[in-house]
């Protein structure tokens, strides 16, 4: 059956949509949308195949969120974008700088979405992204506020709440991660959360028992086995098999000259033993470039026991770009398509699970996020 595949490319200067069919050989570009806006994330609702949310701000205006109910043909601004509760007289009152991560809720909850922000906060919408409210107790919980740190901690443009994950078996089972503050799980629909930190490393010299110092970069749950999660962390690549609460460092099996530092983490839609990463140079001053100027994805087909390099079609020297946290993804086609966007504004894809890469767009602004979905 032919499919309408849409790839949403969120950049530092706007949003581009790329359309194709299940062959994924010809791509039609639609954009820019919101030229000049910083788009941190754009996500199509898999529950209806047409509602699209885009998190936006500009360098000089506050954050907002745009919604489309026709797969990006027309847009409306959200009536009430994510914002912290007003805190009268409180010295530590926070304001949302930007919404960073958007996640549709469970299939049984149409119209419900979650959002993660910078500074780190968790928000929920029950009306398809039009109005947003602070969600759960974590935004104002003193312990969570301590773990979150301040704007000065961690990520250069502000700490991020990201990787909001909903268990496909249970709408009340949630995970999220904080770029400063670790990985957290709720089994009661977000009323309470608990950290899951066992087995994770932190930067040398810091206290591993303090969640403040934990820096997960991207967490993904395997759709074919929701008890399995993969994580790309500031300090390595990990796998978690529930009900265990101990992460296993599978990145030690990566080639030593490449290492296991990076930002994105991608899982196979139907095979929980298969996952992809896109390593970057995390040595010395953390150049955040491709290691040695030679970009490549790596795949494991056995849950992290071994890794294979996937660089056919990619530049083999002097390519110093890298791939950000949300800028790599997979589609759900029979031969899984992989997509990634680079810091240098190139959009790459593979229609054979990474064996061969093709550049489908160049000269875009710096790419922040890439998502692939099926539109109606």
């Amino acid at each position: 059956m032919n499919a309408n595949i849409i790839v949403m490319v969120a950049t530092r200067k706007g949003l581009w949509l790329y359309h194709s069919d299940s062959k994924r050989q010809q791509w039609r570009v639609d954009g820019p949308h919101f030229l000049g806006h910083i788009i941190s994330h754009a996500v199509l609702d898999p529950r209806d195949g047409r509602t699209l949310l885009a998190a936006a701000k500009t360098g000089h205006l506050g954050p907002t969120l745009y919604r489309s109910t026709d797969s990006g043909k027309t847009w409306q601004e959200a009536a009430k974008p994510p914002a912290f509760a007003p805190s009268v007289g409180e010295a530590k009152a926070r304001s949302v700088d930007h919404t960073f991560w958007l996640a549709p809720a469970h299939a049984s909850e149409p119209g419900v979405w979650y959002a993660g922000t910078s500074p780190q906060g968790l928000f929920r919408s029950a009306d398809g992204g039009n109005t947003w409210q602070p969600f759960s107790s974590i935004n104002d919980d003193p312990q969570y506020r301590k773990w979150m740190g301040s704007a000065q901690d961690g990520t250069p443009d502000g700490p991020k709440l990201h990787s909001i994950i909903v268990d496909p078996r249970d709408a009340k089972h949630l995970y999220f991660a904080m770029s400063g503050g670790g990985v957290h799980e709720s089994v009661d629909g977000g009323k309470t959360f608990q950290p899951i930190m066992k087995g994770l490393a932190v930067v040398e010299g810091f206290d591993r028992s303090d969640y403040t110092y934990h820096d997960p970069h991207c967490i993904r749950l395997c759709p074919s086995n929701p008890d399995r999660l993969y994580q790309q962390n500031h300090c390595g690549i990990y796998r978690l098999d529930r009900p265990s609460d101990e992460w296993v460092r599978i990145g030690m099996n990566m080639p030593k000259e490449v290492g296991d530092i990076g930002f994105p983490m991608v899982v196979h839609p139907r095979d929980d033993n298969t996952a992809w990463v896109f390593p970057m140079d995390g040595t010395a001053v953390w150049p955040r470039t491709s290691p040695d100027g030679k970009p490549a994805a790596y795949v494991t087909r056995n849950a992290g026991e071994t890794w294979q390099r996937l660089d056919a079609g990619l530049p083999n020297k002097q390519a110093w770009w890298t791939v950000k946290r949300q800028a790599m993804t997979a589609d759900t086609q029979e031969s899984v398509g992989l997509y990634f966007g680079t810091t240098s504004g190139e959009l790459w894809m593979s229609s054979d699970e990474g064996k061969q890469w093709t550049c489908i767009a160049q000269h875009l602004p710096e790419i922040y996020a890439v998502e692939a979905a099926l539109s109606v």
Binding site: T58, G59, H60, L61, G62, T64, E77, A78, A79, P81, A83, F84, A85, P86, S87, A93, R94, S95, V96
Partner: protein, 85 residues
Amino acid sequence: MKVLIPSALRSYTEASEAEASGVTLAEVLADLDHSYPGIRFRMIDEQDKVRSHIRFFVDGEQVRDLSFPLSATGELIIVQALSGG
């Protein structure tokens, strides 16, 4: 009163000038938001702080306090201080 709108906010007003009423800066911005929903939050955050690249001028003088009194015959100029690349 007359409000001059910077280019970054004209997607809301579709014009370089707008009319809004109120006896303080806060009231004028609330009225502006009533006419152009969403415009206030792009300038003022949820803690009622003026965002870092937004400036307000009334009769040539910079105003930082939302309770600043305004007159119906005055002119409010909203300026976006551009930054970054």
